[in-house]
Symmetry: C2
Subunit: 310 residues, 2 copies
């Protein structure tokens, strides 16, 4: 099934203890659409770039079947640029530069060919911008997935809650779930957030995995323990893209299938961090992904058959 992915397509400059990558491609919709393209050949990109964005990266994405009809190119302008430096433990980073450039005036316009899509993934953007995408759909998609961040909770909580009321799956991290709900317990936080509108909540916990909630069920997915994280940039976006792509491919929005989608998202994200930018995702083979998925099975499978309790 078709999947609209909205978000940034950008340049990043990244410093990690392993090295520095200057002006490499990044952005939520770039990582997300490449990840999703492993699952569905009908990814519909909505984003904005400047004249500086490299044609070969656009060609690569086109080659993976990513529709760029909704990708605006602003002549004479520059693409969104972010620069950051990760601390030794990779769990914290400092933002060095944020140049909005083309993003400052970004008004997403959906081509008519996108407006009947069954699935929509709203990458982290101003909540009003995410809302304008929803409003342009001709019919209600089967599932709208939305990513956001604490920044919008700090400065735009009201419009954020209005957008959250319109979507089906919210993906945020544990601190954001606490901030959004005012509850420390993630179980209580999830109950409050689901009351705001979404059917499902995905709480991303980085190296501790992810939790999936609906009103009656909880699923706990592990993260793969990794010997080395080379560059965490884009891991969350890759997770979201594979998660959405898997759901679009299987066209099944049950809790059981969303569990599978989370494992696929986690597996794909575990590749993303192995190299800078989208480099590792570009090299990824089906056999590698299958082997990685099996690692998640091995990591979590137990059998209580022997249990006898006195």
């Amino acid at each position: 099934m078709s999947l609209v992915i909205v978000g940034t397509v950008a340049f990043d400059t990244i410093e990690t203890p392993f090295g520095k990558a200057d002006m490499v491609v990044g952005g939520a919709a770039l990582y997300g659409s490449i990840a999703a393209s492993h699952y569905t050949d009908d990814v519909q990109l909505v984003s904005v770039i400047g004249e500086d964005f490299p044609q070969d990266e656009l060609d690569y994405m086109a080659g993976r079947g990513i529709n760029q009809e909704g990708l605006q190119l602003k002549k004479g302008e520059k693409s969104f640029y972010w620069s950051g430096r990760y601390h030794d433990n990779m769990n914290k980073r400092d933002t060095l530069v944020t140049d909005l450039n083309v993003l400052e005036t970004f008004d997403p316009v959906l081509p008519d060919s996108y407006k009947e899509s069954a699935y929509v993934m709203l990458g982290n953007l101003q909540p009003e911008v995410q809302m304008r995408v929803i409003e342009q759909m001709n019919k209600r998609p089967k599932l709208i997935i939305m990513d956001t961040m604490n920044f919008w909770m700090d400065i735009a909580m009201d419009s954020l809650k209005k957008t959250i009321a319109k979507i089906d799956v919210l993906t945020i991290n544990d601190e954001e779930a606490r901030q959004l709900s005012g509850e420390y317990s993630l179980v209580k936080a999830a109950a409050k957030i689901l009351d705001m509108g979404p059917t499902y909540l995905v709480i991303k916990k980085g190296e501790h995995g992810a939790l999936l909630f609906d009103k009656n069920n909880i699923f706990s997915a592990p993260a793969l323990p990794l010997a080395e994280v080379y560059d965490p940039t884009g891991a969350g976006d890759t997770f979201a893209g594979a998660f959405a792509g898997y759901i679009a491919q299987t066209d099944d929005i049950s809790f059981e299938n969303l569990k599978r989608a989370i494992i696929h998202g986690s597996a794909m994200a575990s590749f993303c961090v192995e190299k800078f930018s989208n480099q590792r995702l570009k090299e990824l083979t089906t056999a590698e992904l299958d082997a990685r998925l099996q690692k998640f099975v091995d990591l979590t499978t137990f059998d209580l058959a022997l249990a006898e309790v006195a």
Copy 2:
């Protein structure tokens, strides 16, 4: 099979956002032995108390089959006492009082009836004290499990490493694994720690669950997401006691069985935090534990059957 449990039997005064419990019973070996007694009727306690320790608590433990031949009673002295206050989020606590009392001169003496035990659980104590327990065993136990903490890494790393070299399963938290190994990645930390001697490493991550490592395998166990944690005191000790008790009951030290033991430990710990002190463990029924174990199955089970990756 028989299981020797060594550690503190103590008084705690605990403040949480839910209330205060004054001079309630606690200690690693108290929580551990009660948890283990749900699995094996041959728990052999090694500890020390003062004359102030309540007889009815000793009677309760005896009633659960916990052998107290190795429990020293020091006339005219006071039991070990700890007092702490938990912050609102329950993940941090301040120690208000630590009165070693009888613990200051504690020299564990194993009764002859304990010296052939197949299983030994060394609760957190000075590493030299833990070593003296190992040295008193007549034959090498099948499995020696050891808990410790950052305090000993700060002030007694050499003797800690000597004791770690003699045991089979080390249980520590993620920060302690990083401190002990000097590695941030838990995969690298585990490799270094397993090189110090143990066959297995359990890394406890609190609300994020636990990881089990041997040289070739990793298992990731979730923690049960809880709406409310009433009092976290003793949860780690309860985990360790149920983990050791399950292994002693099943008499199986394979990686597969240690996975089951971790799920049992996690389930038992999830009860411990529901009330102050050992109150909830005292009320626990087999049916409740079975239902809680099923929750861990539901929480983690997924089936990739539908996976098709392009």
